[in-house]
């Protein structure tokens, strides 16, 4: 399966298991979503469980919160993460705090799916990585898969979770892993172990990172598309790096991170989002707090730049193998 099919399968499995799971969003119904992630679901589960919505993100999320308070488990789609900002108040002030402020009387068990990230020539309005905005908010969970297998297991866990979850889908790898070389032919998921996805139910608990490659020289912390780019980079450079795929930023599996950095003594953090105040800053601080005496070199961050995502200069902006390689060489020098 590719990642879109895996995500579709997760919703299919959950809708079959639980009549309270509903899917809503712009174009998700008859058409099955602009990325086809919800294809076939309306035909299978009917229009009251899978339906198109008006183009109002604050409405989509606000309505989902109300449905959640009723007792449903809505899985709203925001067509691109770049469009999530009109819904920010409903996510930050409402969904995230409902359980706390009502002392558990009302909850918002919603899973907001949204394609995010660049590398598809989407310009500044179809390329952003806003995960840092959500990880800063108490009461929201933020999940980002890097393979079809993980996407299905994590999405099922998110839908089953009773807290509001932001599920960001790295759209650059919807159809296949990406090694960071935009000028090479694309691969597809069929040759990748993460593309082997069972048809049935399984879950990956939120808050469990995955050591996708064991190594001794340096720990690379990454998620989404950047897991694959980092993997390719170390193989090209011949560095024995340990790569930790975070999979979920909140809750964060700090134990796995800590154990890895203490083992390798070096840490490079890679994400596509802009640098200042990004999640890399949080990771860097936590690693420093916990592993300072084990570090043999300063922590390096490899990120997007603090500019809007530029359309024609996309590949200069994208933190590709060269930028990651430079950071790795730098930490390996010490």
């Amino acid at each position: 399966m590719n990642m879109i099919q895996a995500i579709n399968s997760a919703m299919d499995v959950m809708m079959a298991r639980d009549p309270d799971v509903i899917v809503m969003g712009e174009d998700v119904g008859y058409f099955g979503g602009v990325f086809r992630a919800t294809a076939g679901l309306q035909a299978k589960y009917g229009k009251t469980r899978v339906f198109d919505t008006p183009i109002t993100e604050c409405g989509i999320i606000g309505v989902a919160v109300g449905m959640g308070a009723y007792g449903l488990r809505p899985v709203p789609e925001i067509q691109f993460a770049d469009y999530i900002y009109p819904a920010l108040d409903q996510l930050v002030s409402e969904a995230a705090r409902l359980r706390y402020r009502s002392a558990g009387e009302f909850t918002a068990p919603i899973t907001v799916r949204s394609p995010f990230g660049g590398g598809i020539f989407g310009g500044q309005t179809h390329s952003q990585s806003p995960e840092g905005i959500f990880t800063h908010v108490s009461g929201l969970k933020t999940v980002i898969p890097s393979t079809p297998y993980d996407a299905k297991g994590l999405l099922i866990a998110a839908i089953e979770d009773n807290d509001p979850t932001i599920f960001f889908e790295p759209k650059r790898i919807y159809n296949g892993p990406f090694d960071g070389h935009y000028d090479r032919p694309s691969k597809n998921w069929s040759a990748h172990p993460g593309g082997e996805v069972p048809e049935d139910y399984y879950r990956i608990d939120l808050g469990t990172a995955n050591v996708v490659r064991a190594g001794n020289d340096v720990t690379i912390l990454a998620y989404g598309t950047m897991v694959h780019v980092a993997m390719n980079t170390i193989e090209t450079l011949g560095i024995d790096a340990e790569i930790v795929d975070l999979r979920s930023l909140v809750p964060l599996d700090i134990e796995t991170i800590e154990a890895s950095v203490k083992k390798t003594g070096r840490c490079v953090i890679v994400h596509e989002a802009t640098r200042t105040g990004g999640f890399g800053a949080e990771l860097s601080a936590q690693v420093q707090e916990r592993c300072f005496h084990h570090l043999e070199a300063p922590i390096e961050r490899v990120t997007g730049f603090d500019t809007p995502y530029p359309h024609s200069l996309e590949w200069a902006y994208f933190p590709g193998p060269v930028r990651i390689g430079d950071a790795l060489k730098k930490v390996m020098k010490d």
């Binding site: 919160v65 308070a69 009109p86 409402e94 409902l98």
Partner: protein
């Protein structure tokens, strides 16, 4: 240097900034407020299409005349018992407000908001809705809780953020959450409850339930995007929801003109969405009851949403943190042409021979005593600021269903801080 000199034959543009008619010191004359006779508004069948009665979004549905007689097509012809219950609930709301307002002034809590002058809005609606219909209120609908029999002591515990507060002191006073009374958790961010009410109503419809939702916001916050998103959603899916816009003329110090009142009515917002719209006399409990009953019937028979503008007046400040003498004429509350909702229903009942001044005075005394007794009881659980009423550990509970590691770690840090400072139970660091 602008380009204007090159186009000197054109008059300069001018920006219009709305201004209320009266400011402090001005004499008040509300002669321009049109108060039509009670028989002016027809009552459409609840199955009529919304576009067949647009006129009702621009008129004023009324039942009670200013002399206390009831009439017109909207007269719900309630039994004297039902009307006495509404009168009592309005009086209870006023007594409760009075007492809690004073408690705030005495430093027993941080904040309070009264609904003085607009009690009919929540009491009339609560009387017309079923008790299990879901309400998504704003902050001046405490009358719904009182109508539905919520315990006064519980409400006061919330206001005092004391150890009896089941919200564990997490919410600003009056931001109740009462699931058992069909009362959604109140948010301080305005009109966020509107799309939520629509979502709840859509869920109820999708599940083949029979319950409907109702929501309230002020006229000022109809400017919020959430309001318009909610109207779109409700219209598109014919959600069984009632939108209430409480037009009490003032959003803190901004008069209704800043939400668009100079251009049209708030009920007219419904027209553009194809939603049924009613503009009603919000100081007439019977009109509120009748309009809500009508809207509820539309919702329950899958005719979709209704938007009701309650034309009323906020006789008190916005909150205890507000001083209305600084921005509006002191004469306004008394000059308001639609009078006082309690006085109007009282006079109606007296006119029917079903009530009298002495019984009214006795009721006021009884309610005042009841509220006073509840206050005493609530204060046994503590008042805000006198020590910490909740175990400090609870700060970290309920952010998520299960506490994730980072919160467990921060909780442990707080325990350690307090232990090292020698502070165990109450008290601040």
């Amino acid at each position: 240097m602008s380009d204007a000199s090159r186009r000197s034959n054109l008059p300069p543009l001018a920006l219009h900034v709305p201004e209320p008619k009266f400011r402090p010191g001005d004499a008040v004359d509300f002669a321009d407020v049109t108060v039509p006779p009670v028989d002016a508004a027809r009552r459409p069948d609840t199955s009529e299409r919304a576009d067949a009665f647009h006129d009702l979004a621009f008129g004023l549905v009324r039942v009670l005349d200013m002399d206390g007689t009831a009439g017109g097509q909207w007269n719900p012809r309630l039994s004297p018992d039902a009307m006495r219950r509404m009168l009592r609930n309005m009086a209870l709301t006023r007594a409760f407000d009075e007492r809690m307002f004073r408690a705030q002034r005495q430093g027993k809590t941080s904040f309070y908001m009264k609904s003085l002058g607009e009690e009919a809005v929540s009491i009339g609606a609560a009387a017309a809705l079923a008790d299990d219909d879901m309400c998504f209120p704003s902050y001046r609908q405490q009358g719904i809780l009182l109508s539905r029999g919520c315990n006064l002591v519980d409400m006061m515990n919330q206001i005092y953020s004391n150890r009896g507060d089941k919200l564990m002191g997490r919410q600003l006073p009056i931001m109740y959450s009462e699931k058992d009374f069909g009362f959604f958790s109140i948010s301080g961010n305005l009109t966020t409850q509107y799309p939520q009410a629509v979502g709840w109503a859509m869920a109820s419809a999708a599940k083949g339930d029979t319950r409907i939702a109702a929501t309230w916001c002020g006229e000022g916050s109809t400017a919020e995007g959430d309001f318009h998103s909610a109207c779109t959603f409700a219209s598109v899916y014919r959600a069984p929801v009632i939108f209430n816009v409480v037009n009490n003329q003032w959003a803190i110090s901004s008069f209704s003109g800043f939400a668009g009142a100079e251009a049209t009515t708030f009920a007219a917002r419904a027209v553009g969405y194809g939603i049924a719209g009613l503009r009603i006399d919000g100081n007439d409990a019977l009109a509120v009851y009748a309009a809500t009953k009508w809207a509820a019937e539309r919702a329950r028979t899958n005719q979709g949403p209704t938007l009701i503008e309650h034309f009323t007046y906020r006789a008190e400040g916005h909150s205890t943190s507000d001083d209305p003498t600084q921005y509006r004429s002191a004469g306004e509350p008394n000059a308001w042409p639609l009078g006082d909702p309690i006085v109007r229903l009282r006079d109606h009942l007296i006119g029917l021979g079903e009530w009298d001044e002495a019984r009214h005075a006795a009721m006021d005394k009884e309610l005042s005593d009841q509220v006073k007794a509840a206050q005493k009881e609530a204060e046994k659980n503590g008042i805000l600021g006198h020590g910490m009423h909740q175990p400090f550990d609870t700060m970290f509970e309920g952010v998520f269903e299960e506490m994730p590691p980072h919160l467990r770690e921060q909780q442990a840090q707080m325990r350690a801080e307090r232990a090292s400072a020698g502070v165990t139970v109450g008290g601040n660091l």
